[in-house]
């Protein structure tokens, strides 16, 4: 792993980010509606004010001028400001990013913690009862969309049993353990929904990738050398089987973010996903651009992390 490589990867990312921004901006500009739609139906707001606001925020200029202006400001580190809250876009995103990262991170960890042992166990005992059950549950898991499982969990755990809250709050007035406990309690449902959805498809991949490896000659050799079965599996099988899984985890990051958008909406989690939805509904172009840009960066970043992990898992494919 050299610094050159990292530098090259980042350089390659720039044109793709530029392309993404151009497409997004054009699509948003072509989409109908405008950020001051709400003023139209209000009889107390004179038309002049609406027109003045449009002019003030530069909405009457041609699309390409608006794009160049946005890009120029962005290159200088100015993300612009939101039309609806008049707050700087970067502040708005920074307010919400930690929540999203925490929820997605927890969900991803849950997915991995569940999927790897289950997948490995299922693969070491193929077609056993355990394997059958794990497979069935995995199919059910990734066939059910997150908005459905989310509502289902709310119905069961919030409404029938009244165990967990279904509105996520950021201003919990407690400290120490109490604070942690409240946060964990309200995160259980969203993290479960996202994590199990992710985990379900991961189980399938882990299982098949372990099955591929476990039949290889070097595993038989390891076994014949008399190394205990647990050691064979963890040292020799899993490590090699994980390479395709890592790719998958990295490539699935956009899907996770997509799932997070839905989950954030259902549980009212103030993450960037719900910010994106409300901004799209309000035609708040600068925020939509900012959030999607962050998403794009995160996806690029995770791909990079996957590449680095390859090198750690299998030194033969280290990039130079």
């Amino acid at each position: 792993m050299s610094r050159d490589y990292l530098f090259r990867r980042i350089l390659i990312a720039i044109p793709s980010l530029l392309g993404i921004s151009l497409v997004l901006f054009t699509v948003l500009a072509l989409a109908p509606g405008d950020p001051f739609g709400e003023l139209v139906t209000n009889p107390n707001v004179p038309a002049e004010i609406r027109l003045a606001l449009r002019a003030k925020f530069g909405l009457d200029d041609p699309v390409w001028i608006r794009y160049v202006r946005w890009l120029n400001a962005m290159l200088q580190g100015d993300w612009g400001f939101s039309f609806t809250s008049r707050m700087d876009v970067d502040t708005l995103i920074m307010q919400r990013l930690p929540t999203t990262v925490a929820v997605i991170g927890a969900a991803q960890i849950l997915a991995i913690v569940v999927a790897i042992p289950v997948g490995v166990l299922a693969a070491t005992r193929p077609y056993s009862l355990f394997d059958q059950i794990a497979n069935t549950l995995a199919f059910v898991g990734f066939s059910l969309p997150t908005f459905f499982t989310g509502l289902l969990l709310i119905l069961v755990f919030s409404i029938q049993l009244d165990w967990l809250p279904f509105v996520y709050r950021t201003d919990i007035r407690a400290s120490g353990w109490q604070w942690w406990w409240e946060h964990i309690r309200q995160s259980i449902m969203p993290v479960t929904v996202l994590g199990l959805f992710q985990g379900a498809s991961l189980v399938r991949y882990v299982r098949s990738s372990v099955l591929d490896v476990i039949k290889l000659d070097y595993v038989t050799t390891a076994r014949s050398k008399g190394i205990g079965e647990p050691k064979v599996v963890t040292r020799h099988v899993v490590r090699n089987a994980l390479i395709p899984v890592v790719t998958l985890v990295a490539l699935q990051m956009p899907v996770v973010f997509g799932g997070a958008i839905v989950t954030e909406q259902i549980f009212r989690i103030p993450g960037i996903g719900s910010l994106l939805i409300s901004s799209i509904l309000a035609n708040d172009t600068p925020v939509v651009m900012g959030v999607t840009f962050v998403f794009a960066c995160l996806v690029v970043l995770f791909n990079l992390i996957a590449d680095i992990l390859y090198g750690w898992l299998d030194p033969r494919i280290t990039f130079r």
């Binding site: 001051f36 009889p43 107390n44 038309a47 409404i159 103030p270 409300s278 309000a282």
Partner: protein
């Protein structure tokens, strides 16, 4: 009862010859409601009976946290930039106006020491000036005193075109001066019967001069206080995350005794209306939820949870069908629905009358809206003094058929009525919204029976209700024969709202479809009465004029009113709170309290 007779009675009360109570009793006897009778007195210069609230707590604070849920969170906290009620409500936690509108449309003093009247010298005889006396000893949250300078500053701030304040409409054609440290005088260019628009209600919230004076005009966006409000309200600012959270904590220096009751307030945003209703009515996680755009059937089921109740406050909004008086299919000078054209078949009064008979309002109320939409035959429904008794709501398919037959519209081979090669085939558009699609279906079915073919169209709300000039699907373009949506006055005075039938307000390409008259209906009599009502100071005469202004387009079938839609909120059973259809939900936040 004749207008003159009524005026005589009012004069006798003013002179003290007749008691207020017997006046109200006589009014009720002739069919007026009691609040309406008191209104007549109030506007005629008789001091309004101050309603004594049933506020029980005997000390400030100690009520714990108040948790309210808005399914669209507040996105900004400067009241002069607030684009929707969600923002106005967020601002109203911290900022206060001089006066607020209660649920009956009465003016309640907040930062004013009293409501200006003729008696206390607040209102001038010519209707051209108002003098507001401000409450003494009111402090901003940072400890600075609130004075007349702040009020005058708000006027300057809002009227600076570079500020582009959304509230500017309420501050047109007037001058605001300081008389002394706690008195402000507003002088209007023309006599203004509805003088309580500036500094009152949602457009009247007052921001502190000392924190905003360096940030007016073009620099308005840079004010740090935009995001950290410093007001006079019952709660002080604590935290704000646009679209997600507005948090406040008790203001121990609040200017009303023993108030507020709660130690903190949390206004959570986001999600959807149904789950917000659920969090209040079924699980009790929250105390109050805003704007329950949920079918009544669902609300009734959630109420069975026993934690909260749906609360309904009358307002002015009315769901109505507009009939296009121009031709939406012929293009003239680059626009359709131009007033240079006439609608081929809707220009026949018989057809319009038949359509009005084919709208089954009672079924729509019963099967679709329930408590959240009350069948009406009026465009102007509230406050009660403006509601006309001269219109009828009738659903009668046979009568509609007879009318069409008599007018020569005979069924063609396809069952659709026609005359001179013109068919009764209409495009009926509205926004995508389940109750609206159900209403469309009910109307379509009745029309089918009468031989009128209706083609239904529904447009995404964000497009339909936008000011996009280039998009032909917005409601101001009205490129359809019929369309349906809800609109209404946001204040307890219909003055601005009734512009929607003025000839000078016709929506057209020339004004970039920004004007108010969407139906393009024009009537000289209407224009004349409107102009007169603008400056009519006698409240009884003025109310009579607005009733006429309602009757003209309704009887000529420029519109077919369907249901009027009150404000629907969900509140915990333990919470004592009242909202208003004429002001922010928080117009009386200082009086909210909860049983232990």
């Amino acid at each position: 009862m004749q207008e003159k007779e009524l005026q005589g009675l009012i004069d006798r009360v003013v002179d003290g010859k007749l008691s207020r109570r017997s006046f109200v009793r006589r009014m009720v006897a002739v069919g007026l409601t009691a609040p309406m009778a008191t209104q007549l007195l109030a506007l005629s210069g008789v001091a309004m009976a101050q309603t004594v609230g049933d506020y029980k707590p005997t000390k400030r604070g100690g009520g714990g946290a108040l948790k309210v849920l808005w399914w669209q969170g507040a996105t900004l906290l400067n009241p002069h930039f607030a684009t929707g009620t969600k923002d106005q409500d967020g601002c109203r936690i911290f900022y206060e106006p001089l006066g607020s509108w209660d649920a009956d449309g009465n003016l309640v003093p907040i930062l004013a020491a009293e409501v200006p009247t003729r008696e206390n010298g607040g209102l001038s005889a010519d209707g051209k000036s108002v003098t507001w006396k401000l409450k003494q000893n009111v402090k901003w949250h940072d400890g600075k005193p609130f004075t007349a300078d702040d009020v005058v500053f708000n006027y300057q701030y809002v009227t600076d075109p570079a500020t582009a304040a959304i509230t500017a409409g309420s501050y047109k054609d007037m001058k605001v001066e300081k008389v002394d440290t706690h008195t402000v005088k507003i002088t209007f260019v023309n006599p203004k019967p509805f003088w309580a628009d500036p500094f009152v209600g949602v457009n009247g919230m007052i921001i502190p001069k000392h924190l905003f004076e360096n940030f007016s005009g073009a620099k308005s966006r840079e004010a740090p206080t935009n995001l950290k409000p410093v007001g006079t309200g019952p709660y002080k600012f604590k935290d704000f995350k646009p679209g997600d959270l507005v948090a406040g904590e008790i203001n121990m220096d609040y200017h009303m005794a023993n108030r507020p009751h709660f130690d903190s307030i949390e206004m959570k945003g986001g999600g959807d209306a149904v789950s917000a209703a659920r969090a209040v009515l079924q699980t009790g996680e929250y105390d109050w939820a805003w704007n329950m755009q949920v079918e009544d059937e669902v609300l009734v089921r959630l109420e069975a949870g026993g934690k909260g109740k749906v609360r309904i406050y009358p307002g002015g909004s009315v769901e109505h069908i507009q009939l296009n008086s121009t031709d939406p299919y012929t293009e003239v000078d680059g626009e359709r629905s131009s007033i240079k054209t006439k609608h081929p078949s809707l220009s026949d009064k018989a057809v319009r009358d038949a359509l009005a008979l084919l709208v089954d309002r009672d079924s729509i109320e019963k099967h679709i809206y329930g408590r959240t939409g009350i069948a009406t035959s009026n465009y102007l429904n509230n406050p009660a003094r403006f509601a006309s008794k001269n219109t009828v709501k009738e659903f009668n398919i046979d009568k509609a058929i007879a009318l069409l037959d008599a007018a020569g519209w005979k069924p063609g081979p396809d069952g659709i009525r026609q005359k001179d090669g013109k068919k009764l085939k209409y495009l009926y558009q509205t926004s995508i919204n389940q109750p609206r699609q159900k209403t469309q279906a009910i109307v379509k079915q009745a029309c089918q029976k009468a031989g009128i073919d209706i083609e239904i169209k529904s447009v995404v709300a964000s497009v339909y209700f936008s000011s996009d000039e280039a998009n032909p699907d917005t409601y101001p373009h009205f490129y359809a024969d019929l369309q349906m949506y809800t609109t209404g006055p946001s204040q307890p005075d219909p003055g601005v709202w009734m512009q929607s039938f003025l000839s000078s307000e016709v929506c057209a390409k020339a004004n970039r479809w920004q004007s108010r008259n969407i139906t393009r209906w024009r009537n000289k009599e209407y224009d004349d009465i409107y102009a007169e009502a603008e400056t009519e100071l006698n409240p009884v005469k003025r109310a009579a004029m607005y009733i006429q202004l309602n009757d003209l387009p309704v009887k000529d079938r420029a519109v077919i009113p369907i249901v009027y839609r009150p404000q629907v909120r969900a509140g915990s059973l333990k919470l004592h709170a009242s909202a208003s259809g004429w002001d922010s939900d928080f117009f009386e936040l200082h009086n909210w309290y909860k049983d232990a």
